[in-house]
């Protein structure tokens, strides 16, 4: 196993702090892209897609850490994340449908009742 760790371009990934940093960066970048999407897009569905994207990013980080520490906690957690994401997707989509019927639009800006 030590050999594996020393080999470049290894499969599965031979984790070092630097490799972890690569994965974490990808995770953070994906999260940020999701964030930007959530903040800029006005289509409710796309906004929900962006939240899924952020879940995704979190998943990458979790699995990378799981690999780094060579245990299964991270992966277990990703399962739960997936569960929640699925629940969220179901509810969110139901909501989207519901809202769409009300306003005939998917725009999040159509809903501004909380305006002060």
């Amino acid at each position: 196993m030590v050999d594996l760790l020393l080999a470049q371009s290894a499969f599965p990934e031979a984790m070092s702090q630097h490799v972890l940093a690569h994965y974490l960066f990808v995770s953070a970048a994906m999260f940020t892209i999701g964030l930007v999407g959530f903040l800029t897009r006005r289509n409710l569905i796309i906004m929900f897609l962006c939240t899924e994207m952020m879940f995704q990013a979190a998943g990458i980080a979790l699995i990378a850490f799981s690999r780094f520490h060579l245990n299964y906690e991270g992966q277990t957690f990703v399962i739960f994340v997936l569960t929640v994401a699925a629940a969220e997707a179901a509810l969110a989509l139901a909501l989207v449908v519901f809202l769409f019927r009300k306003r005939d639009s998917l725009s999040a800006e159509a809903w501004a009742e909380m305006k002060g």
Partner: protein, 780 residues
Amino acid sequence: MTMLSMPLGALSNLVAAADGPYIATGEAPQWVALIPALPLLGAVLCLICACLNVKNKAPGYLTVGLLAGSFVTTLVAFLGGTDNYGVATIFRWIHASIGADSGTSLVSNFAFYFDGLSMLWMLFVTGLATVIGLYSSEYMSGDKGLGYCRFFFAFNVFVFSMSCLVMADNLLLLFLGWEGVGLCSYLLIGYYYKKPEAVAAAKKAFIINRIGDLGLLMAIGATFVVFGTVELRPLFEMIAAGIDANGEAIGGTWAVVVIPLLLTAGAFGKSAQLFFYVWLPDAMEGPTPVSALIHAATMVTAGVYLIARMFPLYAADDAMIALTVVAWAGAITAFWAATIEFAQYDIKRIMGYSTISQLGFMFAGLGLLGTTGAVFHVFTHAFFKATLFLCCGAVMHGFGGQLSLRRLSGVMWMKGFGITAVCMLIGCLSLSGVPFTAGYFSKDMILAQAFATPGDMIGGAYFIGLLLLLTAAMTAYYTFRVFFRVFVGPKYFEPGDDDHGDDHGDDHGDDHSHAHDAAKEEPGDALHTGFHPHAPGWAMNTAMVLLAVGTIVIASLYFVNKKEDHGWAGTMVKYSSAAYASPGLGHKGDGEKKDEAVGLLPADAEAGAVMPVSLVAEGVVADEDATAKASGTLFGYDPFKIMYYVSAVLGLIGIIAAAWFHGPKGLAGLGIGNRVEPAKVRMDAVAARFGPIPRWAENKWYVDELYHIVFVKVLLVSSHIYHAIDKLVIDGIVDLLGSLPRWLGSLLRPSQSGVLHSYATGMVAGSAVLVALIVLVALL
């Protein structure tokens, strides 16, 4: 006469030698409480009548009966002589202690203090109230029903309050009466509440009185501070001894100057003197019996009463500052009111101004140290002025509320007005000071006092005298102006519009329906063929006759106890707090020697210092008293002797002037020339010569307008300003403070756009900042 003189004879035997204020030390019988209690009962009965919706004259007759009872009680008390003088405590009213251990307390009982002064006042108050009540029972018959009850309710409450005022054992109860009469005055002036003028007049009377009352209230406070009591008897005892509650001498302290001045302010308000007179003429908006009783005979003399009552305090001041003020104010008011009267045409108003003027005489009399004259004048004035008012009322009643002397003439010759005219004549004679009338004697005492009182006691007493003499002549003139214009001359009238309210007129229709039916024209009544003047009925006639007779009879009181006390009034005054050794007069119970010494005093006699009453009372200087009592003279003679002639002459001059200008035949009537023109034409010609002055006088020298601008307007404007300040500034600041959170909120409000994105952006920014903080903390 015998009835009156008998107890007085007994009285004079008991006279103490001292001239100091008499202090009634005895116990008055408890039944004197009946005097105020009966009118109070009357008030309650009137109230019940109102509740039962009584529509007949029952309230009037009830009132007359109860007032008569009150009068009889007063008479019985009076006949009891000095035995009845003293204090009768009915119940405890206000007792409050000052501080836990000072031991002083504010004691003010519902108690009555009886001495000569209150007795004299109560006699004419209850007596006149009875007679005028009788008169009113007919006069007000037009308002039978609620209005009638209301009238007699207030009438009764008035008599009750006046009794409390006059018989009060303490200043607080006096104040109760003082305000009570003010209330009744308010209610009665505003009796015809549908007339805005009446309502305004009522309000004006009450408010102006209140200004004076503040002075009285302050005086009560000061009295309490200085003397530790507001009860009259201990007060008089202290003043007589010349000490305050701490036993320190009061002579020369502020107390004897300030308290009298404050009292004077109160008296001026009630008696319509100096700056306060403006309410009284307006008060004539009330029903005439009210004017007669309240605004001529009784209530307005409360000021005189107050000063007379507190006279020891006034006299305790060696410099006599307050009294000088009183004297001058009285004289000026008397003269001032007389000038206005010259140009007035409303006969009731003329009588109103005349009242002010006569009250001025009374104040001058008091200020000039002549309490006897002043009090006597109050007494006589009550009778003859009431007579005059009642006669005016009869005319007004008969001619549908007509009061202008330009629209009435020859009333004497009209059917049924004979008694009215005769009574009027008697009243006019008395007011003018024609010899041997009541007014003649009483006014003379005041006039003479003005010359008898040395100028170093009351500054400018001589000039006051001259002013008063002039006023006396003017009085005669304007009095007879009314008489000549209204009662003699060709028969002519224009009925008034009877602005006493509709129901008044309706009633006339019921009582005198024949007058309307009859198409017969009265002579001189060219304009209103349907109007028939209706003469006063039995009740009004009886009342007028009673008062006229009273006016004649009371003249004789001047001769009762003449030697000892300068008349009956003098006797009464002697047994009261107003007792004072007036310069040139004094109370001559000491004997003939003093009388002569004073009577024939030469003109250049040294005006020695007059001892303050307190010292006199102690009897220390009793012997020197006779000689030291220096007094002024008039034309080198004792003013009290010569005044008989001077004033008679002046009075006659005034009457002749009136006859000249206003008599039916003018000068021709006096046997000079034979040109006869209507009085109005003649007068207009005379008035034209004075340019705008008559117009100014007719408009009362624009004093009301001046007051309106200086006081009312200024106050009103400032009130509006205050209101604006209250609303904008004070409440504005509060609202501003209140709106601060709202304002802050509105600043933050745009951040709550309601759009999901902006909240999310905010959240992200917040987390960024949080993470940055964590990183920074880790870095540092």
